[in-house]
Assembly symmetry: C2
Homo-oligomer: 167 residues x 2
């Protein structure tokens, strides 16, 4: 499925195209300020995590340039697989341009289409105030906060939020 969302082309990719997402993925996790992935995760490991079923990977392109990517998957296996989970990444030079919001809207539509009943974020770093506001504008609420669950590269132990919305 490929579609224009506010000037972006957002489309699903497989492992064969993950190399296009990898520069963003690598940059985002190397910063150590938003994801728990080891900052030295390999491209092969990242590709497996984001493109191996039931995980699905989506790429956001503007004028043929990759500006973001996201992953959609069930948050639990089996009897909990009606709740989705997503992770979004935006290339640093394209931040503040609404790309994460567009990817979020896209992911909510994809999740509904796939039959999910709700979406849960397990690990929203509390210092990412912009992301938290964005998810709230997209209908998510903070269910709870886990104290010090993230070792932030510069802030040290940092709280994380679990966020949720129905679909």
């Amino acid at each position: 499925m490929s579609e224009f969302v506010g000037g972006l082309v957002i489309r699903e990719i497989g492992a064969d195209e993950f190399a296009r997402a990898w520069p963003i993925f690598r940059t985002v996790i190397a910063a150590g300020d938003s994801y728990s992935y080891p900052p030295d995760l390999s491209e092969q490991q990242a590709c497996a995590l984001w493109t191996t079923a039931p995980s699905r990977c989506f790429l956001a392109e503007r004028d043929g340039v990759v500006v973001g990517c996201y992953m959609l998957r069930p948050n639990q296996p089996g009897l909990g697989d009606h709740v989705a989970n997503c992770g979004y990444m935006v290339t640093p030079s394209a931040r503040g341009q609404g790309i994460a919001g567009k990817m979020c809207e896209h992911s909510l539509a994809e999740a509904r289409r796939a039959g999910f009943a709700a979406m849960q974020f397990n690990f929203v770093v509390a210092s990412n105030a912009g992301a938290i506001k964005l998810w709230q504008r997209n209908g998510f609420s903070i269910l709870c906060t886990v104290p010090g669950a993230f070792r932030h590269a510069t802030r040290g132990l940092t709280d994380i939020h679990i966020m949720y919305r129905t679909l």
Copy 2:
């Protein structure tokens, strides 16, 4: 590591001994009332989930009979791997005898020894009142409740709790 805890021998096992845990694992997930694992998960898949590093599997035996098993792992990879996660299973015929509590105590000691700073349960089914009380007696608090996140075999959509304690 092997030790007696109130008449039980609780010890870590590897994949080579997982067949001893499997009858309990299979029975517990087949009931569809406490774990999100697909009720038809294979022994091979279960073994991989519970014994592949960084997951560690422990067996509880009483007079040489396996009465329970549990899994200890980091709840997140990389920058979140200082928070542990556990799952416990008790054979139905041995319930109400304090075995889950003994395994929980054992897992807290093991988690401390491994350097974890806290423990988080992601998916405590709200209808398992006995389990919730037991975790609370062992120092866990309910951080939040995710509505209808579990498709209980007999109750249908059922809330789950996220529980947490420091170590």
